[in-house]
């Protein structure tokens, strides 16, 4: 009897110690893991509010005009509804917006690329944009017609960023070793990045038009591969609280997710107040976003912004 109980007690002690040991090891392992992941991801952030105070009206205007954004929207005939919506809504706020289509469409003007392949479309569009506009714009924003963008927030995000540096930003994702900007959230290139991209396009080994692989990479990944060769790396764009500003989902979808995951803090958990893009919008939703962003607001709330943007001419929905 005594030997049994003493064995039991000994067993208990060993079991207890073993449990503590396993728990400790588990905690250390997890902590190490998250830290490592955090370091490898590149982030760039929007400017702080303190950076942008004490400017006169003239200085604000000048600063606002110094950020010139050229918008490329890649379209196909099947996107006609979305194309129309983009044309009537947010693209009016780009300094210049042009639609690059796979083939000629009677209803709308576009730059015809004569190809159905998304990667080839992207290459041609970037090439043309650089050739024609390298002296007129310093930032190049590429989007799909299912994306809604707030160009004013893009310009605020780019404030104090030197376009002669190689910026390549948006909603950044890691796929194995490759970090790339998800095309669904919109892709931003500085003039320097676009310059380097144009050069590497000439290199059929590093940046071929037709991928030599059996399984093709999506065009946004191919872009990342080509840019990487020129020393341009993708960076994730975030606001001053670390929230993504380029979103690959719609507001509605993100709200629904927040209602499930953070029901006590739905709006805080959803999206950035300075969000730049949302994706997956139906044409009608673009009109609602236009109203919700550019018009609907509560009376009596003012902001001291460093930049000034005037509403575009000949428009009644903003």
């Amino acid at each position: 009897m005594i030997s049994e109980s003493s064995s039991f007690v000994k067993g208990m002690m060993i079991g207890g110690l073993f449990c503590v040991f396993v728990t400790l090891v588990g905690h250390i392992k997890m902590g190490h893991g998250t830290k490592a992941h955090h370091h490898e991801h590149h982030h760039i952030q929007a400017p702080n509010k303190e950076d942008v105070l004490n400017l006169s009206e003239g200085e604000r205007m000048e600063l606002s005009h110094s950020i010139r954004v050229y918008c490329i929207i890649l379209v196909k005939p099947k996107d006609l509804g979305h194309w129309a919506a983009v044309k009537e809504t947010w693209s009016k706020h780009c300094d210049k917006a042009e639609f690059y289509s796979s083939e000629n469409v009677k209803v709308f003007d576009s730059i015809v690329l004569n190809t159905n392949d998304m990667w080839v479309m992207m290459r041609k569009a970037y090439k043309l944009a650089y050739e024609r506009y390298k002296d007129e714009y310093n930032w190049f924003f590429l989007a799909h017609p299912t994306t809604f963008a707030i160009i004013e927030n893009l310009k605020y995000f780019l404030l104090k960023k030197d376009a002669s540096q190689p910026f390549y930003t948006g909603h950044a994702v890691k796929s194995g070793e490759l970090e790339y900007v998800d095309g669904d959230g919109g892709i931003v290139l500085s003039i320097e990045s676009l310059k380097r991209l144009s050069k590497i396009f000439e290199d059929p080994d590093k940046c071929p038009e037709q991928g030599g692989l059996i399984w093709k990479l999506s065009e946004d990944k191919q872009l990342a591969v080509c840019l990487k060769y020129t020393g341009v790396l993708a960076e994730n764009a975030e606001d001053s609280e670390g929230k993504d500003v380029f979103n690959t989902k719609s507001v509605g979808t993100l709200i629904k997710e927040a209602m499930t995951n953070q029901p006590q803090q739905v709006i805080e958990g959803c999206c950035s107040d300075m969000a730049i893009t949302f994706n997956g919008l139906a044409p009608n939703h673009m009109h609602v976003m236009m109203y919700g962003v550019y018009r609907l607001r509560p009376y009596g709330h003012n902001f001291k912004d460093a930049l000034v943007f005037l509403p575009p001419e000949g428009s009644d929905n903003d």
């Binding site: 030997s3 079991g15 207890g16 110690l17 004013e152 509605g252 969000a275 550019y294 609907l296 009596g300």
Partner: protein, 414 residues
């Protein structure tokens, strides 16, 4: 014998290991994890309850919500000058599925909010109006709700808003509309419909707001039986009572002529093409405008709003904005706003919180007023003056007190 002993020791040893492991495991987990958060805690609290000051069953705003880094002085001033009590028409089966999301979003911008149900709910909290549920009960609920508000909260607000649990309201814009009027005016505002009443009536779903005087007259109408439960069509019946009691149906359109109260969701008004046979065409008091001009920048309400859209609209209205953008429509504050008294009384947070937790505690429980038994009041029906009423005389005196208490500045434009 020896073998038997050996076996049981061996067994005991291994059982001991497992027992020790299990005990330690539970011990460690118990220490590491915080007290588990049960969705249904013993004393359920309203959503984001650290925000509310609970004056059971009413919820008082602890301050008008705004973003850090913004200059919301004008909105703050209106918050204290145009006090709005919101009551939300809901029911027991809708509390968690709909009313909860109202509580988490636009209701926070009210000065006082009450959730009106047929059954009392101390946790939500919701007032029990002692009616049944159903479309045919809507006017009964409305009558009792206004009587309740009149009995318990008349002095706490200048304007009294009725909304459904699927109505989305932008209170700051409502304050801007009402700043051009005084609570002593017998007037009410909403989405104006034309049939069945000479001066029209206000759509129930899009929400409507009564001045303090209009509320008095409504309650008085039922006391004297000038008004009664004529039909269960709540908005029409209320409109007819208003007309009878000399309360004017106001024009809620903005200075550019655009509607502010909307009976549908933004998508319908902005992009929908209502078919010509749709009833809406015959109901609208003012001409319907489709497309972007349907809706004012300073919209006040939308209806048939799902919970998801509730949060989406709150986000689009109060959070997401285009940086540096100079809005096209920037109307000034109405001149009348300067003449409105500033009500700085803030609920004393600690005391109210102490009263809040226990039903049956010091905080007054709602008392249902049977129809026709409100407090006797002599109200001259066509009075536009400010005398003969303690609240009104207090309000009249305030403009003289304010310069002594602090400065108030009005800034023009948004």
């Amino acid at each position: 014998m020896a073998l038997g002993l050996f076996k049981s020791s061996w067994l005991a040893f291994h059982v001991g290991i497992m027992a020790g492991f299990a005990c330690t495991f539970y011990l460690l987990n118990g220490l590491h994890q915080p007290a588990p958060q049960e969705p249904e805690s013993p004393a359920p609290r309203p959503a984001g309850d650290s925000f509310w000051v609970i004056q059971h069953p009413a919820l008082l705003s602890s301050g008008h919500p705004h973003l850090s880094g913004e200059d919301s002085a004008v909105a703050a001033e209106l918050f204290h000058k145009v006090r709005i009590l919101c009551w939300v028409m809901t029911g027991p089966s809708n509390l968690e599925t709909k009313a909860r999301h109202v509580q988490a979003t636009w209701a926070r911008h009210c000065n006082v909010v009450l959730f009106m149900s047929s059954v009392r709910d101390d946790g939500f909290p919701a007032v029990g109006l002692d009616t049944k549920e159903g479309r045919d009960q809507l006017y009964w609920k409305t009558i009792r709700a206004f009587q309740y508000v009149h009995q318990h909260h008349l002095a706490q607000a200048d304007w009294f808003l009725k909304a459904d649990d699927d109505t989305f309201v932008v209170l700051d814009n409502l304050r801007w509309l009402l700043a051009n009027h005084t609570p002593q005016e017998p007037v009410y505002f909403g989405k104006r419909f034309k049939p069945f009443a000479k001066q029209g009536y206000m759509s129930g779903g899009a929400g409507y707001v009564l001045s303090q005087e209009a509320l008095r007259r409504f309650v008085e109408g039922f006391r004297t039986q000038a008004c009664s439960h004529t039909t269960s069509v709540e908005d029409l019946a209320l409109g007819q009572c208003m007309e009878k009691m000399g309360v004017r149906a106001g024009d809620s359109r903005d200075p550019a002529g655009r509607e502010t109260f909307h009976p549908f969701v933004p998508e319908s008004h902005l992009t929908g093409k209502f078919s010509k046979s749709f009833w809406y065409w015959n109901y609208c008091y003012y001409p319907i405008v489709e497309g972007p001009r349907c809706c004012s920048d300073l919209a006040i309400s939308f209806h048939y709003v799902s919970p998801e859209l509730m949060y989406t609209l709150e986000f689009l209205t109060y959070h997401l904005r285009p940086y540096g953008y100079r809005y096209r429509f920037q109307p000034p504050l109405p001149e009348n706003a300067a003449r409105l008294p500033l009500h700085r009384e803030q609920p004393r947070a600690a005391e109210e919180r102490a009263n809040a937790t226990l039903p049956g505690g010091a905080g007054a429980l709602p008392q249902i007023i049977p129809l026709g038994e409100s407090k006797p009041r002599v109200i001259p029906l066509h009075s536009e003056g400010m005398l003969g009423d303690t609240t009104a005389s207090y309000a009249a005196a305030l403009p003289w007190i304010i310069p002594l208490c602090g400065k108030q500045e009005l800034s023009n434009g948004v």
